[in-house]
């Protein structure tokens, strides 16, 4: 497949590591990620976080990546040219991500349901594939995003530095309020839109295991606490923009003791930087 237009001037690095809570008991990494060319030479960047309580969550997170790829290939078969076209395409992309995910899950469930268990009929259920999704289809300066759940997106501007453009839900007591692609309330939770900004020179898509390690909390107006991207988030973009820094360094960093101490969760980041 030909390169995307983004690849000509950008570098994409990504890493996904099992959190210490999973690694210590031999549970697989339930996060997934995908990057690559989609549609009419556009670029897909995507991360997903499978819900740890569900037996097929890792499979679910992989299916959400496939759904994002299939949806992007279908919707962006012809690249949008105007902001209006991008907005319409983004709406379609969001709906298609959900529809494709449902189809993928149904296809995965069919053989499972046909397989009887020792205790009778197989009751494998859709909820077992619970996962979040954060996907960006990029053709700089256009970035279409779709998000269900608690992934977050940071954009770096030059000038301007790092900004948290898509925040994980804040103010929750625990993650028990997380909405998944399999949740009844996913349509209400779904966030999508188009970022159009020629000054964007970096993007970071992250799963919730990186919230504590990478974001700050600031007091907003009326005392509400808001998550923000700290100024030194720029260092991540700068590090992988620098020539000679191997992309695998990101994986090593996410596996570091510092990150392990910041959260026991699985951690995934897709980082795109303009060279």
């Amino acid at each position: 497949m030909a390169d995307s237009r983004m690849e000509r001037g950008w570098r994409v690095v990504s890493a996904s590591v099992a959190g210490p809570n999973h690694a210590s008991v031999g549970v697989e990494n339930q996060d997934s990620m995908r990057t690559g060319v989609v549609g009419d030479a556009l670029h897909l960047l995507a991360v997903a976080d499978g819900a740890g309580s569900q037996p097929r969550a890792a499979h679910g997170s992989r299916l959400s990546m496939e759904a994002a790829r299939d949806a992007a290939n279908r919707v962006f078969a012809a690249a949008p040219r105007t902001l209006g076209e991008w907005r319409r395409a983004t709406e379609l992309f969001a709906g298609e991500c959900l529809a494709q995910f449902d189809e993928h899950v149904e296809r995965a469930l069919t053989p499972l349901r046909a397989r009887p268990t020792a205790t009778g009929a197989n009751t494998a259920a859709r909820a077992e594939f619970a996962t979040t999704l954060l996907a960006v289809v990029a053709d700089p300066p256009y970035f279409a995003y779709v998000c269900v759940g608690d992934g977050f997106l940071v954009a770096e501007r030059a000038p301007g530095g790092s900004h948290l453009v898509l925040s994980p839900p804040s103010g929750r007591q625990t993650a028990s309020e997380t909405v998944f692609m399999t949740s009844p309330g996913r349509d209400a939770d779904l966030r999508c839109g188009v970022l159009v900004d020629p000054a964007v020179v970096g993007l970071a898509l992250c799963t919730d295991g990186l919230i504590d390690g990478m974001l700050d909390v600031a007091a907003g107006p009326d005392g509400v606490r808001l998550l923000t991207a700290p100024a030194d988030f720029d260092a991540y973009f700068a590090a992988f923009r620098a020539p000679g820094v191997d992309g695998t360094e990101l994986s090593r960093k996410l596996q570091s003791r510092e990150f392990a101490a910041s959260s026991g969760d699985d951690k995934t980041m897709v980082l795109a930087v303009r060279r």
């Binding site: 740890g52 309580s53 309020e177 510092e258």
Partner: protein, 255 residues
């Protein structure tokens, strides 16, 4: 800047661990209080190996028996009752507990729920969330009594309250008994998460506490309490099998 020097922030969300410890006179009569003190110190050292928990964990110790019901300072800095029951786990340095008096277990659980609620509210007002569901671990060698030392059934009311907290995904409750504890009380308080040991091996009890923390961390935070309890039982069985196997292997090697 090298990749190694890239900034990483410390854990912000908290893991609240609350030990509700029996310090009634029966613990003194059997010498169990000394075993508990020794086991707590050993457990404290073991916890230091868990980086993630050290950074996010906060621990409180509620005792019942000696001095009725009180929160003692888990860092050992304040003697007697402390107004700040929770301390960061990295400051955990358990004070030596003494045993005396009757067994106000019901009041202790109620008090533990109260201090937990206060801490949750404090964290919320500071914009700090919970990394995992708060965990309460009851550790006892006896049965709940009234102020005169007579057995009481008031634990049944507390059990109903605990089920509500669990259903709302606000709490995980574990009832861990050693020799002398009452199975009916333990199963009533924690139908899916109780243990009754035949001896007073508090090291084993605290291993169960560690296992339960690991089980809660490995499961999704949105999992129903029953799912986490099932994982706890499963993980505990696995750990015990591994321990027995290692003991057998060790014995074979020695032979």
């Amino acid at each position: 800047m090298t990749v190694d020097a890239l900034p990483v922030r410390q854990a912000r969300n908290r893991t609240l661990i609350t030990l509700v410890l029996d310090t009634s006179s029966s613990m003194r009569q059997t010498g169990a209080i000394d075993e508990l003190n020794d086991a707590l110190r050993k457990w404290c050292e073991e916890l230091r190996g868990n980086d993630s928990l050290q950074m996010s964990g906060e621990i409180a110790m509620i005792t019942f028996g000696k001095d009725h019901v009180q929160a003692v300072d888990p860092s050992g800095r304040v003697s007697g009752s402390t107004p700040h029951p929770y301390v960061p786990l990295r400051d955990f340095d358990p004070p030596r507990l003494e045993a005396d008096g009757v067994t106000p277990m019901v009041e202790a659980i109620q008090y533990a729920l109260e201090v937990l609620s206060i801490r949750r509210n404090e964290l919320t007002s500071e914009g700090v969330g919970l990394a995992y569901r708060p965990m309460l671990h009851l550790i006892t060698d006896g049965v709940p009594t009234d102020p005169h030392g007579n057995r009481t059934d008031r634990w049944r009311d507390v059990a109903a309250m605990l089920r509500q907290h669990e259903a709302g995904k606000h709490l995980l409750f574990f009832a861990l008994g050693v020799r002398g504890a009452d199975q009916e009380v333990l199963t009533g308080l924690a139908p899916k998460a109780w243990y009754l040991l035949e001896d007073t091996d508090f090291s084993k009890v605290l291993r169960l506490v560690s296992t339960s923390i690991g089980s809660a961390q490995a499961e999704s935070r949105d999992a129903p309490a029953e799912v986490i309890y099932e994982k706890f039982q499963h993980d505990n069985r696995k750990n015990e099998e591994m321990r027995r196997w290692l003991e057998r292997e060790g014995a074979a090697d020695d032979g």
